[in-house]
Symmetry: C3
Subunit: 355 residues, 3 copies
């Protein structure tokens, strides 16, 4: 599916952010993830569980059901499921029908995020979740999360968006101070086997009110990172480190963490966290980061929605051309295509058992 | 089409309720029935006629036309049709084109309902309409009709809904007094060749304000019927008789008559009448029945709409499981599948004439 | 595609009105034409250009971009295109990728209209634009244009509408004085190799307030033209000449020029101009013509939208029948089918070079 050269719209053997941890409470949160209805809740206030959101009895959406202790009760005919998804009670009969359990999704709660595994349960290795300490979701950093966003476009358009920060010079000039310059910065691609970082460094970046707000004790110019680092389809880190210009003296790091989760083939969920390792107790700065995020995200969402609209309604599309600045985005597309192809291939192998 | 195991979405060789009789006046009422635009009107105030609602000239919807005496005039170019559907006048020419008549549907007006036959006209035997005296649309009973409803879901979901009244314990607890208990009542299936009744009897049903309103002179407990009787896809009767508990002394019957008519493969019309044989002149009780119906129906409509949404938007659905309480609903599905298969088979026979 | 008996929904080798000339300014106007996104603008205030409206880089709609001098800049990553569509600048690199030019459409500005050619550029002969002098868009005439309209129906329904003015007697009786009579007037078809005129002449047409407003110095009856002249799918002229009844004395001509441009297979743009050769400086009369147009067009739009809805949502349609008054509309359909078939055939020839 465009822009990927594979038919399957997304990889399933993958951890994704299903929700911010504080979105999920004792009561049911319904969310569509990779085309499937999922319900999330905390049985008796404990750890989050994620179950299929469709009652196998009459296809009623369980998000409209209710919680009875640790159990989910379907809102239509009262089938009850325990927190493992096991059907434990059906009104007016002893026992329950066969095959009436809900699918239970492996879930890990980490760094204020609820991670869900959408592939085969036996493959759900928590070590496959990106290292969140590395991006600043750890002690000693300040984080702020923005409200979750639904993007009316396929998740690959959001990945494309983030992997080429040059767009900042065109759609974010009024919201990101200094972003005019980003598009013209040379891009270095750094691959380390786990991530791919499209790194731009603005040397001698002039001070702005924003920079003074971040680093009030420093008066000079900056060497400023505009990274776009791909940790898998679920996470892209942008932002990066600030140094005193020309000195290598480290001032601090401001990361924006973009957690992306396909909702349907044509839409995605978008969870943004900003994280910094300086002025971690400055509430005004924290609020400013939230406010900036609230201004930037709608600009990206509008751009992606406009492209999705073009993709869905145009009779003919021009053949896509790419610029040199797209090298990192194209490499990421290839990584994603390879990931999906490996999945398809692994399924094929299973279906043809060795003789 | 789910949940039926046949491709054709509904039976055509069938009487359906097209409208309440008092909805149809001298002017045109347009209504989509089994996927076809139909117009209903009373030529010069007389008996209802039902004609195809699309002008064969340029496909203008005749519901936007007007009535001239007993004739329908297309609102676009003025073709005129008499009440049999015969094209009788075309502006600016003598005579009319061949094949320009409207399809005329057999119609029977009975018990305040306009019945339409959607199959072959020669099969339109009025005796195939369910016996409406039997369900209380006759002298000696009080009836109240609710406003017609459009349900945003396939008609089979409404049949499923009604055939398992156990749902009352989950979605109607705030609107049907005593409904909490319904799901746990044992179900007996009574088949008599014409109807299938999924019968629940609540013995020793406690009195409630509602029961006292119905039977003010009786103080004790009730043996209470919660029937769900299938008269064909067009009519399901719910409710039933009340007796003095443990005595067999008959107090009266409160029926709810659910007339169901497919609108499209994914939506249906829903006409509800309540009928009782006790306190037939009690206007306050009549109004209360209307009020209760106005509260209950939206709950069912919301549930069916939610399921239809799941069916249409989920990439994968869990395999359907059924409970013991579904036995009657499953039997009704089989009846409906058989009815549709007979139709398909009869069409096949006609197309291959005996040599 | 109904009502045409060809699959291709419209002819591409054709001039169409893309916009009124005064709609197009230095800034970008985006418009969908024959299923393709197009942008129109005046480089540095000069002659209109029309370019593909989708950036070949990441499919962003260029209508959301901006103008830099004579160039269009994509609003997402800043690709720049000159007014010929040539990609001239890509941020952060020397040179531009191959195949990154925008399609440029041949455009002619004539008589206050922007004409666009949607076929092969080498076939874009401006002489194929209908003769606009002939219909009154020339010196000595007064013209008034109505605001452009989007019609929620296929363009062929609008052509059908205009070619049988008999519909005026049914949907325009409250907006066109004297229109009751139109449907009963005999129709003559006049073909001259370039146009097809379905001509109705009302002899002894009585005076009305409207006619007195047009010709205040004349008191008698009129011989009144209700022409519907097809100049190709892009233009139909209605209205026509008024004479003193029975004398042949010419009073003047009031034309309504209907410029039609497919937007998608199921919708079209509609540009209306009224033009007259009498009382050309009477502003009140000009305003009256605009006001009448503003009342008539929504009636046609509603009718066409209703038919489009029927075509798209009805499971079965009656076989179309035609009246004698449709002869001209049917001839026009044949002309249109032939035009499309010639296109398809010409494409076939190119693809199979002579051996």
């Amino acid at each position: 599916m465009h822009p990927l050269k594979v038919d399957q719209p997304y990889p399933f053997e993958q951890w994704w952010v299903a929700a911010f941890a504080d979105e999920v409470k004792e009561d049911i949160l319904g969310r569509k993830i990779l085309g499937e209805e999922v319900i999330l809740y905390r049985p008796e206030g404990g750890a989050v569980v994620a179950l299929s959101g469709i009652c196998p009895h009459r296809a009623f959406p369980l998000a409209k059901g209710c919680i009875k202790g640790a159990k989910v009760q379907c809102g239509y005919h009262g089938f009850e499921f325990d927190s493992d998804g096991k059907c434990v009670s059906v009104p007016n009969q002893k026992g329950v029908p066969t095959n009436s359990d809900l699918k239970s999704y492996p879930v890990v709660e980490r760094a204020g995020l609820v991670w869900i595994w959408t592939g085969k349960a036996e493959n759900a290795d928590p070590d496959l979740i990106p290292d969140l300490d590395e991006v600043g979701l750890c002690d000693g950093w300040a984080w702020e999360q923005s409200p979750p966003i639904k993007v009316p476009g396929r998740f690959t358009l959001l990945i494309d968006n983030l992997l080429d920060l040059g767009h900042a010079s065109f759609i974010h000039t009024d919201t990101i101070p200094g972003s005019e310059a980003v598009a013209m910065l040379p891009v270095s691609i750094i691959e380390n086997g786990r991530t791919l970082n499209a790194q731009r460094i603005a040397e001698g970046f002039p001070s702005t009110n924003y920079k003074k707000f971040q680093f009030p004790e420093y008066e000079g110019e900056f060497d400023e990172h505009f990274d776009a680092e791909y940790y898998g389809p679920c996470l892209i880190r942008t932002g990066g480190a600030s140094h005193k210009a020309g000195t290598g003296v480290y001032l601090g790091t401001q990361n924006f963490l973009h957690f992306i989760t396909p909702e349907t083939p044509y839409s995605c969920h978008y969870f943004v966290i900003s994280a910094r390792d300086f002025q971690v107790d400055n509430k005004a700065l924290s609020q400013a980061m939230i406010d900036i995020g609230d201004q930037i995200a709608p600009q990206d969402v509008a751009a992606i929605g406009a492209i999705e609209q073009v993709l869905q309604t145009s009779d003919t599309l021009p053949r896509e051309v790419s610029a040199r600045a797209d090298t990192s985005a194209l490499k990421v597309r290839h990584l994603l295509e390879s990931q999906i192809r490996r999945e398809i291939s692994a399924r094929g192998t299973e279906e043809v058992p060795a003789s």
